[in-house]
């Protein structure tokens, strides 16, 4: 069940495959997000290559998997690092929204998904980028949660979007390219 073959109703189905892919996505993201961080020059933000897993899992396996990967994966990463599961719960919800939106690609990029592999890889990057820009808007809830200044929240949002876009645009197409032949071989 990939983005290319999903119809509207199967987008939201929750079966054993959805559960296992969700768990894999969340565990991988939770583990890898703390392992590799690449500082962006001139900013206080890191590019986290593992972030690309959130839009990739959403795009490849659907919005439910994307939501779970971002939400639970971010919570687990925060918990393992010592930051705490719920300390920045709104950022976890924002990460989940990124995966969810990327998983909705069959609704807004349907024509791209029925073309060749290269177009599907581009669609993955575009869906992920849209997910990042829209999903991370949820981080503005820091204005209420942490009494953060609007300009401070805007700065954090901009930096997070830049860092996550770098990871998404570079790595999601590569992951789509790597996964699709394996998927064919597995008969999925």
């Amino acid at each position: 069940m990939t983005a290319a073959t999903m119809n509207r109703s199967s987008l939201w189905s929750v079966d054993s495959r959805t559960i296992v892919y969700s768990a894999i996505g969340a565990a991988l993201y939770g583990v890898l997000v703390n392992v590799v961080k690449i500082p962006l020059p001139g900013s206080t933000v890191d590019v986290r290559p593992a972030f690309a897993l959130v839009p990739f899992f959403g795009f490849a396996f659907g919005p439910v998997v994307g939501l779970f990967t971002g939400l639970v994966g971010n919570m687990i990463g925060d918990q393992i690092s010592g930051w705490g599961l719920l300390t920045s719960y709104n950022w976890s919800i924002a990460n989940g929204a990124v995966g969810l939106i990327a998983g909705l690609a069959p609704l807004f990029l349907a024509s791209w998904l029925n073309r060749g592999l290269s177009m599907r890889a581009v669609a993955g990057a575009v869906a992920g980028a849209i997910g990042v820009v829209i999903g991370l808007l949820i981080t503005f809830t820091d204005i209420i949660k942490d009494a953060q200044d609007v300009s401070t929240s805007t700065t954090y949002y901009t930096q997070a979007v830049i860092g996550d876009l770098v990871a998404t645009i570079i790595l999601v197409p590569i992951l789509v390219y790597a996964w699709e032949p394996v998927k064919e071989r597995l008969g999925r």
Binding site: T18, T44, Q79, G84, L85, D146, T152
Partner: protein
């Protein structure tokens, strides 16, 4: 560096509690703490948070990295907030004015009694939340994670997914290290090549892609095993039964009471506003 969660609090007073207590306590405490900006009340919350943390008996040596990261990250976030806010301080009473000590060189950000107090309050609040949150990773029996979330009202399929996620963490971490070693043996140099962030992200491809694709391809066995056991056809039961005892109820009642009290205080008194200690105000 070992990021894998371990059951370090085994046998402690907190680990003997119903696991739902650990989850609900964190949720209540976070909701409590985010409403309060009065440093005097937060100091009380810190005491409660660290007493709670101490009851998990987590050896400091085993979580030194987590505490170092937490303190460094909280300090960084709080300092960044001061810079980005450019002297604007939230949660000040309407009639309050700032008492400026100095201006930060290079940034020109005013440093005032109010902005320093705001930063300290934020720092204390984050540390209290972290102290209450940490036992969830180290004092909760991983065997009961699924049933814990199921009994908290999470649909059983997703409770099972959370359980599965936690079980996958150590094995994926090991797979990741194996992949790094295997690629290094093949001549991959992670520290050489382009120095820009894009080049450095691309250098992660030989590590990230095999780790991810192997994990997904390896999931087929788990999916088959679940399908063969008819996962999802009927509502699942759990091997472990959870029951609150008297102590669990008392702990939960305490955290709920704290949440209600802070909510009432935030709406009816000045608890939701910044309190600046008089000694911080020049001539105060």
């Amino acid at each position: 560096m070992n990021f894998a969660p371990r059951y370090l609090g085994r046998g402690s007073w907190l680990a003997r509690r119903d696991p739902r207590v650990l989850v609900l306590s964190v949720a209540c405490f976070v909701l409590t703490a985010i409403q309060v900006w009065d440093l005097r009340l937060l100091a009380g919350f810190v005491v409660i948070a660290f007493l709670y943390y101490r009851s998990a008996r987590i050896p400091f040596r085993a979580v030194r990295f987590q505490w170092t990261f937490a303190i460094a990250f909280v300090s960084f976030v709080v300092f960044s907030n001061v810079i980005f806010a450019s002297g604007r301080v939230q949660r000040m009473p309407d009639d309050a004015v700032q008492h400026v000590y100095m201006y930060l060189p290079l940034f020109g950000t005013p440093i005032s009694a109010e902005s320093v107090t705001f930063a300290v309050t934020q720092w204390v609040r984050f540390m209290a939340m972290i102290a209450v949150g940490l036992p969830l990773a180290f004092a909760l029996d991983p065997e009961v994670l699924g049933v814990t979330f199921a009994r908290l009202g999470v649909p059983y399929r997703f409770a099972f997914a959370i359980d599965l996620t936690w079980r996958f963490v150590p094995s994926f971490l090991a797979d990741f290290h194996n992949t790094v070693d295997a690629q290094r043996v093949r001549g991959l140099e992670l520290s050489t090549g382009g120095r820009g962030p894009i080049a450095r992200v691309r250098r992660q491809v030989p590590i990230l892609v095999p780790t991810v694709v192997n994990a997904i391809a390896g999931a087929e066995d788990t999916i088959d095993a679940m399908d063969l056991r008819s996962f999802g056809t009927v509502k699942r039961t759990w091997f472990r039964e959870l029951r609150f005892d008297r102590t669990d109820r008392l702990v939960l009642a305490g955290f709920f009471a704290l949440l209600i009290a802070s909510t009432v205080a935030a709406w009816t008194s000045g608890a939701a506003l910044l309190w600046v200690p008089p000694f911080m105000i020049p001539g105060g």
